[in-house]
Amino acid sequence: MNFVFHRKRISGLLTVVPANERSFTEEMKNFNFPEARSLKLKEVMGYDKRRLVEPGVCVSDLAVFGVQHLFDQGLLKPDEIDALFLVTQSPDHFMPPTSNIIQGRLGLKPDVFCLDISQGCAGFVIGLIQAFLLLEQEEIRKVVLINADVLSRKASPKDRNINPLIGDAASITILERDVQDSVIHATLKMDGSRAEALIIPAGGMRMPSTSDTAMLEEVGDNNLRAKDHLFMDGAAIFNFVQVEVPPLIEGLLARAGVSKDSVDYFFCHQPNRFMLEKLADKMKIPHDRMPNNVVEHFGNSSGATIPTAITFNLRERLLHENLQVCLAGFGAGLTWSAMLISLGNVNFNTIIEYK
């Protein structure tokens, strides 16, 4: 499905990462796995540092902290917010929507459209699409898009396949109308027949959490995982990304009439360094134009990794420059999405720590 938007822009990006930093070399002792092999994996995948919330910290805590920071710095006013979208796979509760909780904790006006969107690693582009669609409405002038997850709380500490790559974060992106005649192209695909490749099996209504679903089980390769934990079929996801993402991006660029060479950066979801290097090689894109350094510094925080890659790699540069960027997310659903957008002259583009 393809989208075209006119006169819309991103006017600010903020990433919130927990202050609590963990190191792979310390954590690898938790896995029942030879140290030498873990160190090889660290080198190839880029595992190093990651940021995790302390026990009990929820998505709304990171989100409220970030939006309040913008209020305190005079970068955003509460009354300006006409819509607040939260994209997450780890909400505070089943009910009510976490976006409403955030609205209440921030004391926002009742005349605001709050919406939770259940999406993961493709969720940044999906959130942008939703926000740009809403900005077609006359009364909606500013949308706050929050991508946040605390999935470290759903990763088995004894699962080497998942645990070392997971990080927690929230990103806050401000969307509004543009006075320039900017054109944004986007594309989106979904395949629910492969939904079980990335899943938390228990905890919903299909398989409620019980003492049985909390029990760690041997799941191969000396890994232990419970049904309450996040599961990823790593080989299937790797293949999915390598097969589906290149034609998605190439189709998007073709529709926009833009060559790969004229795109300054390809900011993709950040699963690990190896997967992104292979993606870049397949698409014949130099590695420095497809940054892959989020996992090694912060961990994979699902839908927050693309804005984290932007804030971490571009920082102040985005305050003064305009860059043509291609965004691409892929993951749970399965869902894959991409957007071509001119990004720059933003009011803020920074990272803060949640303490």
């Binding site: 092999r37 090889k40 994996l41 080198e43 190839v44 995948m45 080497r160 396949n161 390769d221 790593g234 080989a235 790797f238 293949n239 990304v241 390598q242 097969v243 190896f274 997967m275 290097e277 292979k278 993606l279 090689d281 397949k282």
Partner: protein, 76 residues
């Protein structure tokens, strides 16, 4: 330049890779070993094995790995 067997021995020194014809079913390489192996082969041969070729069938034996390298443009 290292041989394929030398690279495999660096990854899993406990196995004799010349004595098996099915590294996967014999439990000598798991999916993370394949990733480590691809990174080592890429570096050793100055190539980039396509991500779509990183599937167990291509890492079953020395012969299938040699064929993968040929297909990926490695010079013998």
């Amino acid at each position: 330049m290292k041989t394929i067997v030398e690279i495999l021995k660096e990854i899993r020194p406990e196995f004799d890779f010349t004595a098996s014809h099915d590294f996967i079913n014999d439990g000598m390489l798991d999916s993370f070993d394949m990733v480590t192996l691809v990174a080592a082969l890429d570096k050793n041969y100055g190539i980039s094995i396509p991500g779509t070729d990183i599937v167990p069938e291509n890492f079953q034996s020395l012969q299938t790995i040699e064929e993968l390298l040929r297909k990926s443009g490695a010079k013998p």
